[in-house]
Amino acid sequence: MLEAILVLAILAIIFGLLLGFAAVRFKVEGDPVVDQIDAMLPQTQCGQCTYAGCRPYAEAIANGEADINQCPPGGETVIIALADLLGRDPKPLNAEHGEAKEEKTVVVIDEQVCIGCTLCIQACPVDAILGAAKQMHTVIKDECTGCNLCIPPCPVDCIHIVPLETGLKEWKWPLPDTSMVKPDTSNIEEQA
């Protein structure tokens, strides 16, 4: 009897220590789901989801504060991917946050009009605008995510949205016209 209690007690101590050690050794900093969600978001940092960027939105989704359909730049693709990850039902994009864009856009600065106020530089979340005070500014096209956050602060309205040019490399085959898939019933009617 005593032996059994002793053995169990020793076992309990060993496992307790093991668990305690594991809890310290393999401690995960932060919520890994947030990283996974953040990896799916388009990283435009546009704030259309009402959060201050993609990561805060990812955190809000993970905490259950935000819904998965608040990201217009991501559109359907991101909603489906998020629904897949979180085991929820996909739902249509919430129109309150804007509409999904048909094509990718970037902004350009009309350099003739720019007064060099640096307000757009401060607004750009990815440092895609180059310039200095009272110097002409310009947008680095390759770095622009098309979030349009630089447009409201501009005092002279010299920033314009333009569609991103697609070259041969970016060209995509279109989906074959599925509306053509319909049975030809003329023969059946003739026979009847």
Binding site: V126, L168, L175
Partner: protein, 551 residues
């Protein structure tokens, strides 16, 4: 002598339609008055133009240089003057224009001087050979256009056991390789020997379909005793798509290339016969890749044949050489009927990968029927040479579930078109796979871009945080400094400090009032004058207006 051959899965027996364009020998097409030379005629990065408008160039001169590893330079196909560098329609399924160098030809066809020839290629180092081949702008002439020098670089620790030369040319209508083998057998064998030396390969196999008896004969006749030691010409059964790289390797060696691997990974290198002839030209004669054999055929052509055309020649110009019935052309296809794509602009130039111009009349394409629902017959899976499941790929592509499409190995699809050809419901299956592939590439690009944006955003936040801390630090230090200085002057009251400052200002003001800055170094006479003026001013003070009249 009969070599054991293997079979690949599926495949189709197709009607060849090859005879008509093989009657006449290949002739050089005339040089048009203007050549439009695209800077991208290969897989990889486009070449960068190094000529400017108005430059006179000689035949064979480099006009665009490669800027990346996977790229190829472009040479002037003839002599003339560069008249423009601008966007023109190029042979691409999108029909989008791309940068082209426009060359006004001068009929002199004058070669660049100082071309280097190497008849003793055996004495050259493999690396030197690769550089010669690279600088000659040679890309795979079978259709894909992958820079050849890269395929001749086995990489560290990889041995090439078998070198395969692809003369299968399995697609209907196309005959340019068959005629090349008939007319330039010697060059092909030389090119093969050069490439064999470049990769230090053992045995060489030339695979030719059994419907090209003349080509097999020509090559066998040209084979020297010495070459017979390592080169074997193998006749393979005519079956589409034997000309596919993976399929030909399977037929000749029985080996299959694993998914996402290259032939080099199983010790095989495979090149097209056209590439071999181009390599011989480049190394032995110093001629860069500036022209090729092009089959001009189809039902709207009265005189189907092969032409030796310069790159940049408008397709319309070649069609005219073959008595085209212009009004009857309902569709022009570059490549064969199975894998080619439609060209919408007849002025589109011939490029390095243009093996065939196929014309179709209205009644040829009239049988194309609208797609019906899939009936799950499984014919597509039976003919697929890559042993894929075309139905599954079709469902998932249509549903845009690209993870599933990749699970079903869409990237092992060689787009041969067998599945679409046999589909009783006329579903354009290959179109769905092409759609899925380009969508997946797009998603990958988007992912890269968003990762990059995240990095930049996080760095920006980090930077702002640092700046905030720095500001905080500075403010704190300033406060401390202020406290310290105030501590030193503890006995001085604030009031006295202000009074002191006021007094300082007052003193400064008075000083400035008395002495104007421009009154140093004055002569006595001047001083006197000033004094007089001051006295006058003093007198006049009540009435200001008189001062002006006096002075």
């Amino acid at each position: 002598m009969a070599r054991k051959l293997w079979h690949f899965h599926g495949g189709l027996k197709l009607e060849g339609h090859k005879h008509a364009s093989m009657v006449d020998a290949v002739e050089a097409a005339p040089i048009p008055s203007q050549l439009t030379i695209p800077i991208q005629q290969h897989i990889g990065a486009p070449a960068e133009p190094i000529v400017s408008i108005g430059d006179k160039v000689k035949k064979g001169q480099v006009i665009a240089e490669m800027q990346a590893t996977v790229s190829a330079p472009v040479h002037a196909p003839t002599s003339g003057t560069i008249s423009a560098i601008e966007d023109h329609p190029v042979p691409h399924p999108s029909g989008l224009p791309n940068t082209c160098i426009v060359l006004d030809t001068d009929d002199q066809d004058e070669w660049l001087e100082g071309r280097k020839t190497h008849s003793q290629f055996h004495l050259l180092d493999p690396e030197e050979l690769r550089i010669l081949i690279r600088n000659a702008g040679i890309v795979g002439l079978g259709g894909a256009g992958f820079p050849s020098y890269l395929k001749l670089q086995p990489g560290q620790g990889k041995l090439v056991d078998t070198f395969i030369l692809n003369g299968a040319e399995c697609e209907p209508w196309i005959t340019c390789d068959a005629l090349l083998m008939q007319q330039r057998a010697r060059d092909i064998l030389d090119g093969l020997s050069i490439m064999r030396h470049a990769v230090q390969a053992g045995k060489c196999l030339i695979g030719i379909e059994d419907n090209k008896a003349d080509a097999i004969q020509a090559l066998s006749d040209a084979l020297t005793e010495d070459e017979k030691q390592y080169i074997e010409i193998v006749t393979v059964p005519t079956l589409y798509p034997t000309g596919g790289e993976k399929q030909l390797i399977k037929v000749l060696t029985g080996m299959e290339i694993p998914s996402h691997k290259l032939p080099i990974d199983i010790g095989v290198v495979c090149h097209n016969v056209g590439t071999a002839a181009a390599v011989a030209d480049a190394v032995i004669r110093g001629i860069p890749l500036i022209s090729r054999y092009v089959t001009v055929t189809g039902t709207a052509i009265d005189k189907p044949r092969n032409l030796h055309a310069l790159f940049g020649t408008p397709m319309d110009f070649l069609l005219q050489q073959c008595d085209v019935q212009r009004d009857a052309v309902a569709r022009l296809v570059m490549g064969g009927p199975m894998m080619g794509f439609e060209i919408n602009n007849l002025q589109t130039p011939v490029i390095k990968t243009t093996n065939c111009l196929l014309t179709m009349q209205q009644n040829d394409i009239a049988d194309e029927q609208t797609a019906l629902p899939c009936i799950r017959c499984g014919e597509c899976a039976r003919v697929c040479p890559s042993q894929l499941l075309p139905q599954q790929l079709y469902w998932w592509s249509k549903a845009k579930d690209f993870d599933k499409v990749q699970d079903y190995k869409v990237f092992d699809c060689i787009e041969c078109g067998c599945c679409s050809y046999v589909c009783p419901s006329h579903i354009p299956l290959v179109q769905y796979y092409r759609f899925a592939k380009t969508e997946i590439w797009q998603q990958e690009r988007d992912k890269q871009k968003s990762d990059h944006a995240r990095q930049r955003h996080e760095f920006r936040q980090h930077r702002m945080e640092l700046k905030k801390q720095e500001d905080e630090e500075r403010r704190r230090k300033k406060k401390e400094l202020l406290k310290k200085t105030q501590g030193d002057k503890k006995d001085d009251t604030k009031k006295s400090a202000i009074e002191e400052a006021m007094a300082r200002v007052q003193a400064k003001k008075q000083q400035q009032n008395i002495e104007s800055k421009n009154m140093d170094n004055l002569t006595n006479a001047q001083r006197k004058q000033i004094e007089e003026a001051d006295a006058r001013r003093e007198r006049m003070k009540p009435d200001d207006s008189q001062e002006d009249t006096n002075s």
